[in-house]
Amino acid sequence: MANPRKMKDLRKQPGFEFLAYTCLFFLYAPIVVLVIFSFNDNRSVVLWTEFSFRWYVEAFDNDGIREATIISFKVAAVATFFSTIFATMAALATTRTPPYRGQTLAYAIINQPLMVPEIVTAVATLAFFTLIKKLTGVSGIGYLMMAHTVFCIPFAYMPIRARLEDMNLTLEQAAADLYATPFQVFRTITLPLMAPGIVAGAMLAFVVSLDDVIISLLIAGPGETTLPIYILGQIRRGITPEINAVSTLLLGLTVILVALFFIIGRKK
C-alpha cells in the first residue's frame, strides 16, 4: 500500500534536505558571525554594542595592513597575468585534438600543483629558490611572483579548457572556408569565443593567489608580507578587531569575483 505523499517525489531521500540546509547553515555561520562582529563597536566578538565602521577605518590607517594589501595585489596581478597566458596556450594545445603522444604526461604536469600537498610544494620551492639565490645572488619579490604563477596555472587552465571543449569545431572550419588564414581564424573566431573562459580563468587565478598562505609564508622574504601572512601573524599574537574588518573586506572581494565567475559561466 503506497503512501501517496511519499510517492510524490522518488528523487528525494528522507533527511537529505534537512541535512543539506543544516550543512549550509554551519558552513556559513562562522563567516556570518565574523562579518557581523566586524561592524561591532567594541573589541569583543561576543557582545554587541552598536554598529560602527570603526575597525574599518583603523584598518585603513594601519600601515602594516595597507602595505600587505598592496603587495598581495601586486603579486596576484602579475601571477594572474602570466598564468592566464600560459594556461590559455596550454588549453589550446591540449583540447580538441585526437590523442597524441605524451598526452597523459602533459595533463599530469599541468595539474601537478593540484596533486601535491601545498606544504610539500612550499618546501620544495623554498629549497629551489634558496639554491638559486645563493648561486646567482639575485633576490626580490620576483621569486614570490614566480611561485604564485606556477600554482595558478592549473586553476586558470580549467575554465579555459572547459570553454574550448564546448566550442563548435565547424565554426573554425567555416571561417577557413571563407578565406580566413589560420591566424585570422584565431583572431576573429577562436579568441573571441574563448574570451569568457579566459576571463573566468583569470579571476580564479587572482582569487587563488590572493588567498595563498602556506607557500607565501615559506617563501616570502622580509618586506614581502602578503595579506594572508600578515593576518596569520596577527592571529598568532591575539585577536584584533581590525583583522575582522580586513577579513570581511577580503571575503567581500572574493564573493564578488566568484559571483561574476558564475554569472559569466551562465551566459553561454
Partner: protein, 354 residues
C-alpha cells in the same frame, strides 16, 4: 571521360580517401572520378557512409585526398588549404558565428579577403535582398529560426561569389513544408547566380526534384551519373534501382544478340542494356511498379498476394509462378487478394549491370 573540358568546373580524377591504418583502415572514397559542369546543379546522393560528404569535404579543402587529383576550373586544388580555394560551403548545422550579427556573418568572407568596406557593405546588402532577410541584418544569429539561419548561411557562402557552392545536407534540419520551399529557393538561386552548386543529400526525392544531374554513391564509389529522369527510368546498377523509388527486380537470361531477355516464366521481352556494357547469360532486369498495369491482354501472369492501399492508389503484390514477387502500382480499383491477374509490361526491360 568524354567531357568537354571547357565545360567542366570540377574534375575529380581517381580520388581515394582512407582514414586510419592497418586493421582499422576505412576506405571512405575508392578511386572516384567525376566531372561536374559549370553552372550546374549537381547532387551527390547516397545513404550515410557512402562517401558523399567526404567527397564534398575534399572539394572544400577540409581533408586531403590520399590519392588522386582534384581540379577546379582547370587548376589543381587538391593540396590547397580551404582558404585558398574559391569554393564556399553551406554546413549542415549552418555554423553561423554566434558572436557576430547576421550582417557581419554574411560579409565575413569578403572581410577576410581584405575588401574595402564599401564593397563589403554593398555585397552584404545585395545578399540580404537575395535571401529576403534585409530586416534582420543587425540580429544575433542565435535569435533566428532554423529557416532564417539557413538563409543566412546561404547568403554568407554566396557573398564572395565563389566558383562553386557546396551544400552539405543543408535542408535536413528543416520541417517538410519549409524544406520544400527551400528546395525551390535553392534552385532559383542557382540559376540566378550561375554558380555551380554541389549538393549532398540522402533524400532521393529531393535529389530528383532539384538536380540537373545526380551522382548516386554507395560504399565509397560512384555508381551512376546522369540527369534525374535517366537515373530513374534507366538505373544501370541494382543499388541505384533499389535506392531510387520502388523497384521490381527479376532474374532473366540475356540472349546472345543482347537485344532480348527471357524471364523465368519463359516470357521473352526486348532488353535495354546500360550504355557501353557487354553482358551475357544470367542478368537482372528492373521494372518500376508504375510501369506495370493490369491488362487482360497482359503478357505476365500471377496471383495477387496482398494489396496495400495508400490513398492515391494501391501497391498490389503479385506472386509469379516462377516463385518471384512483383509490385504493381494501381491507380484505380485494385484486384482482390487471391485473384488471378495478367500484367502488361513496358516495351523494353531495363537490364542491370549487377
Amino acid at each position: 571521360m568524354s567531357e568537354n573540358s571547357l565545360e567542366t568546373m570540377i574534375l575529380a580524377d581517381s580520388v581515394t580517401k582512407t582514414f586510419g591504418q592497418g586493421d582499422s583502415l576505412v576506405r571512405a572514397l575508392d578511386d572516384v572520378s567525376v566531372a561536374i559542369r559549370k553552372n550546374e546543379f549537381f547532387t551527390l546522393l547516397g545513404p550515410s557512409g557512402c562517401g558523399k560528404t567526404t567527397l564534398l569535404r575534399l572539394i572544400a579543402g577540409f581533408e586531403l585526398p590520399s590519392k588522386g587529383t582534384i581540379l577546379l576550373d582547370g587548376q589543381e586544388i587538391g593540396h590547397l588549404p580551404p582558404y585558398k580555394r574559391p569554393v564556399n560551403t553551406v554546413f549542415q548545422n549552418y555554423a553561423l558565428f554566434p558572436h557576430m550579427s547576421v550582417a557581419r556573418n554574411i560579409g565575413f568572407g569578403l572581410e577576410m579577403q581584405g575588401r574595402p568596406k564599401a564593397e563589403v557593405d554593398g555585397a552584404i546588402d545585395e545578399m540580404l535582398a537575395l535571401v529576403q532577410m534585409e530586416h534582420l541584418a543587425g540580429r544575433r544569429t542565435d535569435q533566428l529560426s532554423g529557416g532564417q539561419q539557413q538563409r543566412v548561411a546561404l547568403a554568407r557562402a554566396l557573398a564572395p561569389h565563389p566558383k562553386v557552392l557546396l551544400l552539405d545536407e543543408p535542408l535536413s534540419a528543416l520541417d517538410l513544408k519549409l524544406r520544400k520551399e527551400m528546395q525551390i529557393e535553392l534552385k532559383r538561386l542557382q540559376s540566378e547566380t550561375g554558380i555551380t552548386f554541389v549538393f549532398v543529400t540522402h533524400d532521393q526525392e529531393e535529389a530528383l526534384t532539384m538536380s540537373d544531374r545526380i551522382a548516386v554513391m554507395a560504399a565509397g564509389q560512384i555508381l551512376q551519373v546522369g540527369p534525374p529522369r535517366e537515373i530513374y527510368t534507366q538505373p544501370a546498377r541494382r543499388f541505384v534501382a533499389d535506392f531510387i523509388g520502388d523497384i521490381n527486380i527479376l532474374e532473366a537470361d540475356l540472349a546472345a544478340s543482347g537485344k532480348e531477355v527471357t524471364l523465368q516464366g519463359g516470357l521473352k521481352m526486348p532488353a535495354q542494356l546500360p550504355e557501353g556494357l557487354a553482358l551475357s547469360g544470367r542478368v537482372s532486369v528492373a521494372i518500376r511498379p508504375e510501369d506495370m498495369s493490369f491488362d487482360p491482354k497482359g503478357a505476365m501472369r500471377g496471383t495477387v498476394s496482398n494489396v496495400v492501399y495508400f490513398g492515391v492508389g494501391s501497391n498490389v503484390h503479385v506472386a509469379l509462378p516462377s516463385g518471384e514477387d512483383v509490385t504493381v502500382r494501381c491507380a484505380g480499383v485494385a484486384p482482390e487478394k487471391g485473384a488471378e491477374v495478367r500484367i502488361k509490361l513496358p516495351a523494353a526491360l531495363q537490364v542491370l549491370a549487377d
